[in-house]
Subunit: 307 residues, 3 copies
């Protein structure tokens, strides 16, 4: 189990033991943050954040994590202001950036782009989202949040709610939760189900039992964890179709009354209308705690792979 | 008088004593900068700068101040490249950002947005401009500059020149100068006077005597301080109207000859045509010194409120 | 030979001895980087990067260099998000920025803008490209790369290939190589030759012998160094003309077979089609090493001029 120099492209590249190692390291980082210790673990090191697509959360989260480790950050989040506007290939941008830094975080709209970047780069590459494909550090922080707030993952009833077809977050998370022996309930509108190849894969590989439904209420009533995702308008051909779905497929405070007392609601954010705003203030809503856990988890990942 | 954890939203939230405390702290910061001391007062701390509107000066000034204190900075100045483009609410953006940082600086086009952010956030929020409303750190650095260059504020003749109706800078400054017992002359084109509720407020509250005129020359001839502001084209319905006003309502070098020998001219910048360029080189022009004072003043504010 | 406080605007401002001093300092920086030493030479200092034009490489390279020296960086790369959008002059932007920082790096589309900035600013200004004019730190890193990889510059056969008329990189490089007594072969399409005043200048000043050709193959076959540049579509009136030239005027792997065994190919990047992609993997291609040398060279420059 060697992390130094390793790329973080897909949750599928990791064994259960490796994931547990990352979560354990994140625990240590969280403890260090709480003590307000000046960590200088990566002093003099540089992280390059190459963001070819909009993001607040992920970019700021990585920048925070690197700076909390004592390192520095360079990068861009504005494709117009870069050489890509002059016709430079992704390959050349990566070959250039790796000369300036010790490790790379990349977000790019094309599926497979992060894997390509990792093959080119001698420095470790962390995938911060490649189109509808993978976003492994999100999955790791999701697992961390569940383990932290519920004490374990195995045996928990987890409902994944929303667009399970296009959302990269859900596809990776379903896989990882099955690996950790959670019981999955997949709750999505007709036509937005988790792709069949993934359901098949996780059943065969992890012997998972999966319940599928398009009824939110029955899907969440026995859940220990409700993980909601946004129906992404930008992935739809027909915006009106998307808006109609968004309105009908959401968690209401009325629904929540009939769920378990200690259920937690998570969300990768940004959210729009899929959770009624009044829910934010309830103690079931844990998505902003989840945001916080992104810091120790990304600190752990950066610190493990940084050469 | 407790600053730790306090929000900085409006100059109206502060007593005269609190403002003097900030100015005194800024003096110490200026002295430390002059000695080129490596301040590590906020080592390991993170400031988030959330800029939903264009700004060079204010954003770079806060970033400089935080880094001079030994802290780090994350943030955005490009709304297109953030989750807001995906429909996230301001409330959720703030709730997210506060998980990554120790304090927040926000600029947003909507009036009241900074107050809203402060109510949501557990971390201190500094308002760096909310529409035509407030920009308290500008006012504090204005007061600092006047006190520094003239030795006092009380009893000075201060002429506020330009668009006093839409400019947030002038509205806060008029209030603060009245609080500090300066004599105010309000010089604005017809229709761009300081809103009556503010004039009334400061007369009642501070027993201020105020002169109003639309004649620049008579307005500035006895001034100790001339504070000029831009007529902001972007706040006008009719651009041509704005340009006409800009041309007729400006400080010329000819006018300056008849002013006090030791008068100082200030400006919050950016300026366009409201001060004749040849004036920049005279010793009456102090607006670039004023820019510099933004650093120690913002260092003082950040250091006082940062938890 | 005093560098402290000096502006870096054009390679023509430097004597051969001064350039050699910079290259020697860069050697030391490269050694320090290799040892992974925590340099804290510029701790507490701030570099402002004012980028009025797109750039990945140059901006990130300067940011990396400053941070490797222990300093901090502020700046913008997004003109829309700055006060320039409000009509502020370049002069005022520079006068403002210099109050926040210890030195300035500027890229601006207008020729002469960096010189203007340097005249205004009391802090040192480094030109990171002013239109089609100068980009001196690129030339310095080019010289460094050649000296490093070939052991010397004097007496080498250097072929400059591509658009020599509009490219600022080539104009400065031709001058500097002539100063260092390299033998120049200028290879460009008809109509894109190096401007005659430059050819004349370097012949008179350095007694240089220059070969000119529009035949790539004959131009590169005896070269020790082939320096290729992009034909910049954005400088052409007629995009189709530019694309036609780009296709016909490029280095192919077939051509390379007939060149010297130990020839090196350099490029300021970004490249598009002017070098066949398969060449990237050959040991003759050194342009990504060249990217790396930008770091120690810019560290040396920053450290020499920073007050």
């Amino acid at each position: 189990m060697k992390f130094k120099g390793k790329d973080i492209i897909s949750i599928r590249d990791f064994t259960k033991e490796e994931i547990e190692k990352i979560l354990d390291e994140a625990e240590k980082m969280e403890a260090a943050l709480a003590k307000n210790t000046n960590l200088e673990l990566l002093k003099g090191k540089i992280l390059a954040t190459l963001f070819f697509e909009p993001s607040t959360r992920t970019r700021l989260s990585f920048a925070t994590a690197m700076q909390k480790l004592g390192g520095n950050v360079i990068g861009f989040d504005n494709v117009e202001a870069t050489s890509i506007a002059k016709g430079e290939s992704l390959i050349d941008t990566v070959r250039t950036a790796e000369k300036y830094c010790d490790l790379i975080v990349i977000r790019h709209p094309k599926e497979g782009s992060a894997r390509l970047a990792a093959e080119i780069s001698e420095k470790p590459v962390i995938n911060a989202g490649d189109g509808a494909n993978q976003h492994p550090t999100q999955t790791l922080l999701d697992l961390y949040t569940i383990r932290k707030l519920k004490g374990r993952i195995e045996g928990l009833n987890v409902a994944l709610v929303g667009d399970l077809k296009y959302g990269r977050v859900m596809k990776s998370l379903a896989y990882a939760l099955a690996m950790f022996k959670a019981n999955l309930t997949l709750v999505s509108p007709l036509g937005l189900e988790l792709p069949e190849e993934i359901t098949k894969e996780i059943i065969e590989k992890f012997d998972a039992e999966i319940i599928q439904t398009d009824n939110i209420f029955s899907g969440i009533k026995n859940a220990d964890v409700i993980y909601v995702c946004r129906i992404q308008k930008e992935r739809f051909e027909d915006v009106y179709e998307a808006e109609k779905l968004q309105k009908s497929f959401k968690i209401t405070s009325q629904m929540l009354e009939k769920t378990k007392e200690d259920v937690i609601i998570l969300h990768a954010l940004p959210k729009t209308v899929e959770i009624e705003p009044s829910i934010d203030k309830t103690k079931k809503a844990k998505y902003f705690e989840q945001v916080y856990y992104g810091i120790p988890v990304r600190m752990a990942i950066i610190n493990l792979v940084c050469p």
